[in-house]
Symmetry: C2
C-alpha cells in the first residue's frame, strides 16, 4: 500500500460540504467516486477537516491509499478529468506511511471575505458576504486582538462536533484590503465547528457599534454560545491552507507541467 497526499481547491456553492452526507453531493463523495473509477476498488479519502455546505477551499488536504502503483502526474490529470470544474486537484504527491491529513495537521488558515460597497459585482457574489451598513474597521481590528492567543473558544463553537477540549490557539487575525472590501485571515492551531463564522459575526457587531469592544474577554470567559452573534454565511469563507510539520510536509515534488 502506498499513501498519497492531495491538495484540492473547490467552489463550495453546489455541494453539501466536504463530507459525505445521506443526501446531496459532497466533495468527498465525488473524489472517492473518481478514486474508485481509477483504482478499481472503493477508496476512502480522508480530509484535513470538514468544510460546511457553501464553504470554499483554496487548499484543502486529503490522503488516500492505493495498492496499485501509478504515475502521480497522469493520475492527477485523470482524476481532474473525472471531477467537475468546480473541484480541482492542485497537487498529488506520495506521502509517508505516517502522514494523516487530519491528525498530522498542526494548523489551518481560513479567509473570510467581506464586500463593503453598495453593489456586489456579478463575478464574486458567490464568494463575498455583503455588509450593507458602514463598518468601523479599526474597531474590528482592535476587537480581533482580544481573540488572538490561547483561549477557550466554547462561546464561538456550535454544537455538532465531539471534541475533547474547546481550547484553541489563534496565532493571527489580520485584515487585508481587496477589491470591494476586505479579507479577514485567521491562522490557528485548529478551529471548532463554525468557529470562524461565529467569530466574524461577533467582530462585525463590534464594527457596527452594536457590541462593546471590551466585551470580548467576558464573552470568552462565559463559555456560552448564546452570547455570541449569529454566524455569517458560509459563502464568504475559504479554507485557505492546512499546515503540517516540515518533516511530514516534505515530499517528492511531482507537479503537472505542460507535456505536449
Amino acid at each position: 500500500m502506498q499513501k498519497y497526499r492531495l491538495k484540492l481547491a473547490y467552489e463550495g456553492t453546489d455541494f453539501v460540504g466536504w463530507q459525505i452526507q445521506p443526501e446531496g453531493v459532497s466533495i468527498q463523495g465525488l473524489l472517492e467516486k473518481g478514486l474508485e473509477t481509477l483504482l478499481g476498488v472503493p477508496t476512502r479519502a480522508c480530509g484535513a477537516g470538514r468544510t460546511d455546505a457553501g464553504t470554499h477551499a483554496l487548499g484543502q488536504v486529503a490522503h488516500f491509499q492505493a495498492e496499485k502503483p501509478f504515475d502521480p502526474i497522469v493520475f492527477q490529470r485523470a482524476l481532474n478529468g473525472l471531477l467537475p470544474y468546480s473541484i480541482r486537484v492542485l497537487e498529488l504527491d506520495l506521502a509517508s506511511e505516517s502522514f494523516h491529513a487530519q491528525y498530522s495537521a498542526t494548523g489551518k488558515e481560513y479567509h473570510y471575505h467581506l464586500w463593503l460597497e453598495p453593489i456586489v459585482t456579478p463575478f464574486v457574489h458567490l464568494y463575498r458576504y455583503p455588509v450593507r451598513f458602514p463598518l468601523d474597521l479599526s474597531l474590528l481590528e482592535e476587537a480581533a486582538t482580544h481573540l488572538v492567543g490561547t483561549h477557550d473558544f466554547a462561546t464561538f463553537a456550535n454544537a455538532g462536533s465531539s471534541v475533547k477540549t474547546t481550547v484553541r490557539t489563534l496565532q493571527r487575525i489580520t485584515m487585508h484590503p481587496q477589491e470591494g472590501g476586505v479579507r479577514l485571515e485567521f491562522e490557528g492551531s485548529g478551529f471548532l465547528y463554525k468557529m470562524v463564522r461565529n467569530l466574524v459575526g461577533t467582530l462585525l457587531e463590534v464594527a457596527l457599534g452594536k457590541r462593546a469592544l471590551d466585551s470580548i474577554p467576558g464573552l470568552l470567559a462565559a463559555r456560552d454560545r448564546r452570547l455570541a452573534a449569529s454566524a455569517v454565511p458560509a459563502k464568504g469563507l475559504f479554507l485557505a491552507e492546512v499546515r503540517y510539520p516540515v518533516e511530514i510536509a516534505s515530499k517528492v515534488e511531482v507537479r503537472e507541467v505542460f507535456t505536449h
Copy 2:
C-alpha cells in the same frame, strides 16, 4: 419623456446573450421585464451592442425612456432587486434627449482572458479560456501590432450582422499579465460580429507557431473569413467599456451610496 442611461455588469454564462431571442433567457429580456414591473408599461432597453451567449460584461451601456418621473437611486436599487445577482445595474443616470446607447458610442473596449497554467482554479473557470500548449507571447504581441490601425476586418468578421462597411479602427491591443495567464485588451472604434474572438484565435495560432507572424497583412488584404482561425470561446470575453463623446457622457452624477 425622460431618457436614462444604464451601466451594467453581467456574468453571461447562463444567458443566450444580451439580445432577446425566440428561446432562452437574455439580459435585455430580464432588464425590460424589470423596467416594465417598475414603470407599469412595456419599456424597450436599447444596448450599446449585442454580446454573444456566454460573453460577460463589466460595462455594457443601455438607455430607456420613461414617462413617469422617479428617483434614480431608488429606481436603481429596485431594479437590482428584481434582477438575478448575475446582472447588476452599476449606474443609472439621467441622459439627454440626444443620447443613444448604440449610435452615440464612439468606441468600445473588450478584454479576453487566457489561462496559461495546467490547472484552472474553480473560481475563474467560467471566465478564462485555458490554453494547454506553450505560447510564445512575444510573437502574439508582435502579431497584434499588425492589426492595430484602420483596416478592413472582413477576414475576422462572421456573417450574421448587416453593416455598411467592414472597415474599423483598432487603437490598441495590449497584453497584461494576471493570475494564471494574461488579459488581452482591445480598444477600437467598433467591432464586427465575433471580431475579437476571431482575432484572438488567429493571434493564438501565431503564438503557437502554427501561423507565420508576417501572414497577418495578407490575411487582412484577402477579406476572406475562411482564412482566419476559429473563434475562441465566448467565456473568456468581457465587454469592458463603451466610450461616448465627453459632452454626451457628462451627466448628473447619481450613485447609490449607503443610506442606512
